[in-house]
């Protein structure tokens, strides 16, 4: 079992997992594993909050069915002002997240088994028991690459729609509009699934809050990561 790399003051009453998770991850603390250190969590929350700011200021512009969201930020006029700026904030966090995670998101053979249709359907039936799933499974890696691509597309098309005087070409403006809408719809559907799985797999959300997960959670969802971090090969 890996020893904590940094001493926790003996007089501290704080959760040792939380203290260690401030600047280290992938280590064992008592009955838990540190999954996401403070920086990882801040960047992911930054992406999440700015994503929803973009969504809530964009949906009332997309369709009057979501017009009731506009008063949350002060009306449609404010949405129109806030949406592009929150888009810039989202792009910044998405870039930070991309740089932070890109190295860990290479698809392994186990990930490819996971993302095949049969593999993914087995996962949705909660029947996946692949011992080779590492810190991130194939679905998470696919989401990472797809959402990075979607963020780039939203930024590029959003800039065209924001500054039409610099992009006066009509076909470019029309294509940007179509692409911006199509991308945001698919992105939002993926995020619905992403959030759902954080709820449907109890113990997951704690990785995004405290930074730690239980050993049992890690053994179930990410067995290879659990083995590497703990040196324990039992199920």
């Amino acid at each position: 079992m890996a020893e904590p790399l940094r001493a926790v003051p003996a007089h501290s009453t704080a959760d040792p997992g939380i203290l260690l998770a401030q600047n280290q991850e992938d280590l064992v603390v008592g009955d838990e594993l540190v999954r996401f250190r403070f920086y990882t969590r801040v960047v992911h929350w930054g992406v999440a909050l700015t994503f929803f700011l973009c969504l809530f200021t964009g949906l009332p512009i997309w369709t009057p069915i979501f017009g009731w969201l506009a008063p949350l930020v002060g009306g449609l006029q404010v949405c129109r002002w806030l949406h592009p700026w929150s888009g810039i904030a989202f792009a910044v966090f998405a870039l930070l997240q991309f740089v932070h995670w890109a190295g860990e998101m290479k698809m392994t053979p186990a990930d490819k088994r996971f993302t095949k249709l049969g593999g993914f359907l087995a996962y949705l039936r909660w029947e996946t028991h692949d011992e080779e799933i590492g810190k991130y499974n194939g679905g998470q890696k696919a989401l990472f690459w797809l959402s990075s691509l979607a963020s780039l597309a939203l930024l590029a098309t959003g800039v065209v729609m924001w500054w039409p005087e610099y992009f006066s070409s009509t076909p470019l403006r029309e294509a940007s509009w179509v692409l911006h809408d199509a991308t945001f719809i698919l992105f939002t559907l993926m995020i619905f699934g992403h959030i759902y799985l954080a709820i449907a797999e109890p113990g997951t959300f704690s990785a995004m809050v405290k930074g730690t997960v239980s050993k049992a959670w890690a053994r179930l969802h990410h067995p290879a990561w659990y083995r590497d971090v703990s040196g324990d090969s039992r199920r």
């Binding site: 512009i61 997309w62 028991h129 509009w177 179509v178 809408d181 699934g193 053994r219």
Partner: protein
């Protein structure tokens, strides 16, 4: 602006439409006979005056044209097109302004409820208090008419002098025109007047004369008599203007599809939770050996 006595029959970003349809009015139209326009620009001045628009600083670009294009504070621009037709020089003047389409692309594209409206007499108008300045109307318009003002953050364009026409006056430009090249009345009357004029032009030797009332946008509230109607491009008019396919696709297909997708996914996830429940990690100590993969 709300116009007393005029019902709104189409409103941007309004799903159920508006207007009771009880009071109907004949559609109005302006007829522009380009063959009798002398390029005096009285209409430009009248438009600026009536609509309280400021003096425009003219731009000299080698022609008599006041400005290269319309602006947010200049809604009526005589375009001086120079062309060669049948081997001889032709000086083709056209009054550029909002065409007041029956099927307005700007209104289709606009995401702000009530920012662009169509009155029961066919006039397409902007409500600046509802306009959010997103400029999507520019993409929707096949005639490149809506102009965004950086000063006000709003779109503006010709109103067909709705404040005059509602009380029985003709638009300011029509009032000012000295040659009788501008006419105003019901669309029906303007169509027959325009067709009459086309007949005269044909008799005078302009075999390709015609009336520009493009069906792709359901016809327009601004009719234009052209001596060379076979080549509207010579006048800077699109041959077959329509609401852009992209705008129709986004509004009529992508949007309902997206809403359906969102609803279906939310229902699907709830169903998944009911069917498969949460995936809890096993309780108790782990078994000694890993199971076979």
């Amino acid at each position: 602006m709300a116009i007393p006595g005029l019902e709104v029959i189409q409103s941007s970003a309004s799903l159920r439409g508006t207007g009771s349809g009880i009071r109907t009015l004949p559609n109005v139209a302006k007829l522009i006979d380009t063959s009798t326009c002398i390029g005096c620009k009285a209409c430009e001045v009248a438009c600026q005056e009536w609509n309280d628009l400021p003096n425009a600083k003219t731009v000299q670009d080698g022609s008599y044209q006041t400005l290269p294009t319309m602006t947010a504070e200049f809604w009526n621009l005589i375009k001086f097109h120079e062309a060669e037709v049948d081997g001889s020089f032709a000086w083709l003047m056209r009054k550029d302004q909002c065409m007041h389409c029956a099927d307005p692309g700007c209104l289709k594209a606009c995401p702000a409820p009530g920012a662009i409206v169509q009155y029961s007499n066919g006039i397409v108008d902007v409500n600046p208090d509802q306009c959010i300045g997103c400029r999507l109307c520019e993409t929707g318009c096949p005639f490149d008419v809506p102009r965004f003002s950086a000063k006000t953050g709003k779109m503006s364009k010709c109103t067909l002098c709705v404040d005059r026409t509602t009380v029985g006056l003709e638009p300011a430009c029509v009032k000012a025109c000295p040659t009788g090249c501008l006419h105003f009345g019901t669309k029906e009357n303007m169509l027959s007047e325009g067709k009459e004029r086309v007949k005269q032009l044909k008799a005078d030797g302009f075999a390709n004369a015609g009336l520009y009332d493009p069906p792709g946008v359901g016809g327009t509230g601004v009719l234009t008599v052209l001596k060379h109607a076979d080549k509207p491009e010579l006048y800077g008019l699109p041959r077959d203007p329509t609401v852009p396919k992209s705008v129709r696709f986004v509004k009529s297909y992508l949007r309902p599809l997206g809403l359906l997708g969102m609803g279906a996914v939310v229902l699907g996830l709830v169903g998944h939770y009911l069917r498969f429940g949460p995936r809890e990690p096993p309780k108790g100590p782990p078994s000694a050996t890993p199971p076979a993969a």
